[in-house]
Structures are given as C-alpha cells and as structure tokens.
C-alpha cells in the first residue's frame, strides 16, 4: 500500500478507494501517527457487515492504555467486510497500521465525502502541526 495513494481524514483515518465489480470499495484504517499518539491499544470495537456508515459519524472505537477514542467514518456507504482478526491481535495496528491494520471495507453509496479528505502531503502537514 503506497501512503501517497491514500486519502486521509483530519480525524486520522486513512482511506484506499478501489474499483470492484462496478462499485467503489473504500478500505478504512487509522494512520501510523494516530496509533503512535494512542500508544498501546488494548481493545477495539468494529461494526458488523451491513452497517451503514456516514461520513463524520462514529463507526467504532479503540481503547488504549491511555484513553478510549472514537473511530470516525471518512466515507458514506455500507460495511461489506470487517477485519475481525484485529480484535485478538491489536499489536498488528502498532506494527502495521496500513496493510494488516485495515479495519473495514465500505461499498460507497456516495463519493461526495471523498472530496473533503486530505491528500498525503496535506495530512503530513497536519500531523507536523499537531506534534
């Protein structure tokens, strides 16, 4: 996964959009920067397949030794796949926030929300400002 090809929400989720059988499928996770800020993760709650997600609305939460943080959906659509293996292997997120650390795949119902997301350079700049 090339980080330059991903889109990013200002709430630190990343999105990879791909064409699949005439539909657009968005893979969603959280950035390495977010994982580093959260420190060691101890619990994750993800939606089930079929859940409707809405841009800017919570789709789950992660808990670290420091705090519980909501996960915000960067896209509109329906959850078609969930990375169930994360629940028992949260260290995956610490080691590999992108490939192995993906959380949900969403079949987009609307692509308008994508235009609100940041590209890699803009997101890098935001992280630099925050740290």
């Amino acid at each position: 996964m090339k980080l330059e090809e991903l889109l990013y929400a200002d709430t630190h989720e990343w999105v990879l959009v791909e064409d699949q059988d005439a539909a657009k499928i968005a893979t969603v996770g959280i950035s390495k920067f977010a994982v580093e800020q959260l420190t060691d993760l101890v619990y994750i709650e993800l939606p089930s397949v079929g859940t409707e997600t809405q841009s800017g609305k919570e789709f789950g939460e992660v808990e670290s030794v420091k705090a519980v943080s909501p996960l915000y959906s960067p896209v509109d659509g329906e959850v078609v796949e969930v990375n169930e293996s994360l629940k028992d292997a949260l260290e995956t997120l610490n080691d590999d926030a992108y490939d192995g650390g993906w959380m949900i795949k969403v079949r987009l119902s609307d692509e308008a929300s994508l235009s609100k997301l940041l590209d890699h350079a803009a997101y890098e700049k935001q992280c630099a400002d925050e740290s």
Partner: protein, 464 residues
Amino acid sequence: MPDCEVLQDREIRDLLPETAVATKPLALPELSEPDVVRHYTNLSTLNMSVDTHFYPLGSCTMKYNPKRNERLAGLPGMAHVHPYQTESSLQGMLELLYAMQEMLGEISGLPCVSLQPAAGAHGELTALMTAVAYFQHRGEARTKVLTPDSAHGTNPASATMAGLTAVTLKSGADGCVDMDDLRSKLDEDVAVLMITNPNTLGLFDGQVKEIAELVHDVGGLVYLDGANMNAILGVTRPGDFGADMMHFNPHKTFSGPHGGGGPGAGPICVNEDLGPFLPKPVVGLRDNEYYLDDDRPLSIGRVRSFFGNVGVLVRAYCYILSHGPDGLKKVSEHAVLNANYMLSRIRHILPVPHGNRCMHEFVASAETLKKNKGITAMDLAKRLLDYGFHAPTVYFPLVVPESMMMEPTETESKETLDAFCEALFRITEESSETLHSAPTTTLISRPDEVTAARKPVVTWNPGD
C-alpha cells in the same frame, strides 16, 4: 427461638439441584487471626494515601479527611439508625438530611436537591434523566448533549446511558469552549450542555454566562459538572452563572473519604422548573416534623435504595458546618493559592501550556522532555513514587500531550509543596535509564498494563 420455616428437617442438599452442591469442602485458607491481621495491616502500608503521602492527583481533590468527620459520623445516633425505623424515630437524621439539602441548595444557587445518587457519575445520569422527564413533560423530544473535549469521560457516558447522543465541543487555544464551534452545534435538538467550570485545565471559563444564554436561547439546559467546586465555594454559584442543574462530589469538595469504589455520594441540585422531576422521596418539613415526601407525581422515581449513602453525606455535613460560609470560602481561596504557588514553581521545570494563572489545579506537559530525552509523563509519575509522593494525574485531560495534572488542595503546607517541586526538578535531571526502570523502591515496579488489559486474568487460581 421459633423454628425455621424454610429448612425444617430437610438437608440443604435435598433443596438444591445436584450440580449446585459441592462434592468436597472448599479449599479455604486456614490461618490464625493474627496471621490475617498482619497480612492486611502489612498490605495497607504498601498503599499511598492522603494520611501517609502528599497526593496531588488532579481533578480528584485529594484533600485531607478530617478525623473529626469520622468521630461524628460514628456517634451511635448517626451510625446505628436504620432506614426501616418510623419517621418519628428518625427525626434527627431527617433533620440533618433536610439541612444538607438546604445547604447544598444555597452553595449551588440551585434550590431543589436530591441526595439519592450514589456517586458523581450517578448524579450526572440522574440529572440527565430529570432533564429528559422535564422535556417529555413539555412535549419536546430533544436528543443531543454537548460536552467540551476537555470534559470528564463520565459526561458523554452519562448522556449515552440516559438515551441521548453526546456531541463533542472543541476547546479554543486558550483551553476554554470554542464559541464558534458551540454556535455551529446549537439547535433545537440540544437537550443539555454539560460543562465543568472551572474546567479540567484548571481554568475558569469566563464565557460561561454567554454560553448559558446561547443554550437557553435554543431551549436547552446547562449542566454543571461539580468536580471542581473546591475552587469556587462561596465565591460564585453555578445557579448564578447560568447552570440549571449540577452535582457535587462530597468526597472531593466536602472531604469525604475516597473509597476504593465507594460508597460515594453525588447529590444533585436543580432549579425550580426541574425540581418536580427529581427522584423521590425528598426530605420535607411540615408542621415542625421532617418527613419523606413521596407525593411527587412528576418525579422520575427512585434512583437509589433508602436515602442514598447517608454515611458519606453525614461526613460532608460535618465538614460544611465545621467551616461555615466564611470558612468554605477560605477553603477555595487557599486551594487556588496553593495551586498557583505550585504552578509558579513547576513552570520552570515543565511547561504549563495554558498560562501562568490557574484555579485549584493546572496541567503541565512533559512533551518537550519526551522529545529531548525520551522521558514521558508516565516515567515522571512512576519515579515520584520513589521520592515518596503520589503521582499527579497523567494523560488527562487529553487536550494536552503528555499531561500531568496537579491539584495540591488547600490542606498542604508550603514546605510540602516545595519538597514536591524540588523532587520533580531532581527527577527531570536524572538519566532516562533510571526513569524507565522506576519505581525501584516499591514492591511491584511496572506492571504490564498492556497485557493486563488485553488478556486479563480475573480469577484466582490456587496454583498461581
């Protein structure tokens, strides 16, 4: 003695299904009384407590618990009354609880009081349920609760428990509510705005009156989280700066003991519009007799058995009467003075991002130390234990990176505050290796918090 009506001549094993009857005796430890007493007494010395160490745990107001409270709460008339006694034989206790309602109403500026909630968070939930009942009565179906991002986690949790949706408000760079963000989120769906003032950064949000007016303009209510009342007793009142309801934490503000999970108390105070919806019963006074007023048709009902955790309320009552109105004001003045003194020393050791003045607590940041030397707030907190100080609150509030939230309270001397500041200074001069392995003087050094949270073992196995 009358015969037992249940068992009579039958054996217990005949009354229970086979699967519920043990086949061999339980492997209970066999120990003599002195062995047990020594075990627990020795364990108790491994703890830090306000009676043994300075305990500047921010947001928790770990003030000294005067021993007078314990003596008075232990008087037979206080300790041995039973809630099933008749009202006429409980007049003394009811009078105390009635006076407590009156005093909390006066201190808060919100005259209607329920003493039932069993803790601060329970008070939040009860007040939100009271607000929901109020809106239902008015035929309004409001759904949103606004909470600033520096709020205690209990605020959004209480909103969710009450069936409402929590919406986060941003803080501005000054640590107070971002008014533009507030305006953009205010609409007729807003039921309640919950605000902690002074907030968890130790700042009094001077916009609070304007915030309350904006919320009231859309028909919403303002809830004050009373966690930080120790800073403003007798100086200002939530009811005067626009709050419609609030809770007190008697274990913070009124020197009740901080128990390991309780018992606590979280009395709530509301304005007269909300009063009829409070839990019932409340203590009333009629023809010189105190009574439990159950005739409250709009009430949300009971939220706690009997009268709440009366033992904690008695201690708070003793504390309030011991100080009186002027004394309570002095409590807050000294709490604020101590915190500012500490801030003025700590800021030369660790940056305090939100200014050189505070209320009863302030938040320092170990971020620079982390960048330069790899020393985190957690390392400092752990090392302080070796120097004989309980650590401040770390990693809260979340709006400050590597935060250390310090609250000395009014009961500490200048010598103690100086000793703490000097210890912290010495620690920041130590090597990162020393700090990463701290604490070294405690029985357990660094428990593996990550594994404990990921793979908790919550049962005791005799072989372990």
